[in-house]
């Protein structure tokens, strides 16, 4: 996945994608088989009415960003079959990985201190998850 540009004021998928891109990608995750643009437009139109050309352009952008893969089919007029390159979980991980990697590289001490403080004081329920991870990592390290 190429590095995505961030929109700090937006939440969820919109944090890293444009509005239509987010809708299209979400729909693609919910569709489990490769789809053509025309079939896909009918699906997306249930969420938001869009033209076929708009869907085609949006999918092309997602392809350029490395989020979907496509395959050229010649039968029945040349067209692409698109499918998502990663699952929703993998995508979320990739986004967090990209952001945190950059933060740890640029502002290491502040980032670590911030995480520790934020999780210890404001989010006790996350502290449990974190300590579970830490314990698992420690055990791995000792064996």
């Amino acid at each position: 996945m190429k590095l995505l540009s961030l929109h700090p004021r937006q939440r969820n998928l919109r944090f890293v994608l444009g509005g239509l891109e987010a809708i299209v990608l979400q729909q693609l995750w919910e569709t489990d088989k490769p789809v053509s643009v025309r079939d896909f437009q009918a699906m997306v139109s249930e969420r938001r009415p869009v033209a076929v050309t708009t869907v085609a352009t949006t999918l092309d952008r997602l392809y350029r960003k490395g989020l979907v893969s496509r395959e050229l089919v010649r039968e029945g007029g040349p067209h692409y079959l698109y499918k998502a390159r990663m699952t929703e979980g993998e995508f979320r991980y990739a986004v967090v990985d990209g952001v945190m990697e950059a933060l740890l590289e640029s502002f290491n001490d502040v980032t670590v201190a911030y995480l520790a403080e934020k999780i210890c004081t404001k989010r006790p329920e996350d502290l449990r998850v974190l300590s579970k991870y830490l314990n698992r990592l420690r055990r791995k390290g000792s064996t």
Binding site: V37, A51, V52, T53
Partner: protein, 316 residues
């Protein structure tokens, strides 16, 4: 005060039309008439092209004549007394500037002509557009449509290429001494057969109307007249007129503007998102639209204006 303002306004206008040569009222007047004629000929795109190309030609002749005459006067040493006797020798300065501008313009135009002809004859498609990927064998149906429309229009059938891109787009280009029509997969998958045919007819019409030659002439004239700001408006206006003319010819080829209207409306929906559009090259005619801001400087007319013009044609 008013007098001074008017005088400076006239000087500005002459600069816009003529560049740094001497203010001459008759050339400003002829240009004004030409511009009004071009504006009035809104519905005759051929007439418009002729008037605008004529204006460019007149500006070329004017600068050439001025340089010749002023060189002659300068050689004889007979500059007008009221200009030559000033401490700056205004006439000599004017002459030198104009000669320099004309030489630079001529040299630049010659370079541009060489460059464009080199590009047209020696460079292949994939080298001309390194950002695009071309697939060699287009579908049989598309190839047949191109052949049929080309013979209908009476031009040699161009090569057909498929562009590996999901963005709906089509363009015609002269590369390797051959005309090629490139259609993107995104165009074929999102338009139906009638609309695809209309897009191909538009591209064929560019060949039929000889738009590559018209564009070459306009661009070379603009390069030669680089010091005259008006040429920067006329050249894109010619490009736009040819685009409208190609729409009209396409509608005649396929028997009615309906398919082209619906194709253009579909393309318009995604046009704002599209990043792929090889615009501005003399050897490429492109189907996408320009943006609305500064449209008088844009070589690609607005898609909604094109749709409107086709609708008017339908009613007439």
């Amino acid at each position: 005060m008013m007098d001074l303002i008017l005088r400076y306004l006239f000087m500005f206008l002459t600069w816009v039309v003529m560049g740094p040569s001497r203010p001459m009222a008759w050339i400003v007047a002829v240009t004004a008439v030409g511009l009004v004629a071009a504006f009035a000929l809104r519905r005759s795109f051929r007439g418009r092209t002729v008037v605008l190309l004529g204006l460019l030609g007149m500006m070329l002749v004017e600068s050439l004549l001025f340089v010749l005459v002023s060189s002659y006067i300068e050689l004889l040493g007979r500059a007008p007394a009221h200009l030559a006797r000033t401490s700056w020798n205004y006439f000599a300065i004017l002459h030198t500037v104009n000669l320099g501008v004309a030489l630079i313009g001529g040299f630049a135009a010659a370079c541009a002509a060489l460059f464009i002809s080199f590009k047209k004859s020696r460079i292949g498609l994939s080298k001309m557009f390194p950002q695009l990927e071309f697939i060699e064998v287009p579908p049989v149906q598309v190839k047949e449509t191109v052949k049929r429309l080309a013979s209908l229009a009476g031009v040699a059938s161009p090569d057909v290429w498929l562009v590996d891109s999901g963005v709906p787009s089509a363009f015609t280009v002269c590369a390797n001494r051959r005309y090629s029509i490139a259609l993107s997969v995104g165009l074929l998958e999102s338009l139906d057969d009638k609309e695809t045919e209309a897009c191909i007819a538009h591209e064929i019409s560019h060949l039929k109307n000889g738009d590559f030659t018209v564009r070459l002439l306009a661009t070379l004239a603009k390069v030669a007249l680089f010091a005259k700001p008006l040429s920067y408006l006329i050249e894109p206006a010619i490009y736009r007129a040819r685009e409208f003319l190609a729409d009209r010819t396409a509608a005649e080829l396929i028997g009615g503007p309906d398919a082209l209207i619906s194709a253009l409306s579909k393309i318009k929906d995604s046009n704002s998102l599209a990043a792929m559009s090889p615009q501005g090259l003399t050897c490429v005619c492109n189907l996408s639209g320009g943006n609305g801001l500064f449209r008088f400087l844009n070589k690609q007319p607005d898609l909604s204006t094109r749709i409107e013009t086709l609708r008017e044609m339908k009613q007439a």
